[in-house]
Amino acid sequence: MIMRFIHKLGSPPYFYQFSGRLLPWLSGICLILFAYGLYGGLVLAPTDYQQGDSFRIIYIHVPAAWLSLFVYMVMAFSGAVALIWRIKITEIILINSAHIGAAFTFLALITGSIWGKPMWGTWWVWDARLTSELLLLFLYLGIIALYSAIDDKRKAARAVAILALVGVVNIPIIHYSVEWWSTLHQGPTVTKFDKPSIDTRMLIPLLVMAFAYKFLYAIVVLLRARNDVLWRERRSQWVTALFDGSK
């Protein structure tokens, strides 16, 4: 079922049309989620017992870190589908996720640093969590560089897909680093097996923000993918028809 849908989306004009219809909905939901998440995080959520108001950086930092892992997994999955089924649209999703993945990894690192200074007493340490997240940023940048270094974009996509799959082993390392090794970064809060050790009024805005980030990612990846599709298909009938006569 999913594969049939992917195959249908694999047709560039259908993808362009479908994503164009989807975008206003995604944008609307994304704005609502952000509005609620920010209000909940900055106003409704109570002050933390130890960290005071500095903990409010969590609403930027944690969703960014989650998204940095999520985008990478989307890329690895798209890469696998691209290698096995050679569907062009999965190559496009793969490569157009890299920039936003890098941007959000950077956001997670920089806000973590800003949070770390007053709370831990340092901007940066080389513990397992921080180092593996930095490695993720380099993976994203490596993927972007590799793709732009190869002129044949189909070949470039295949090379990038392999790099994305190689790097996927870093994802569980990032997630479990705080449990496997002693780190300055604290252990997981929300994904603990017993119930999350965070007050509900603090947790709900966090989850809302996490969804808002996911929608933002979807919007950006579709915008970029649509541009990519237009340019790749610029010689085809359906693209020329779009711009023909409308001067």
Partner: protein
Amino acid sequence: MDSFSNFIHMGGYAGYVWTSYGIALVIFVWSVVSPIIQKRQLIKRIKSIVQDEQG
């Protein structure tokens, strides 16, 4: 307005909190605006290609 100035003050962590939110805002806006600008340029180029081929 007292609660508002408290809100801006962020319990003494204003610099850290608002810098984080500010950087996030810049990244959000950039990631949405850059493909939109790119699309405008793309459409211009495609239109000129279409016109070249027709004329």
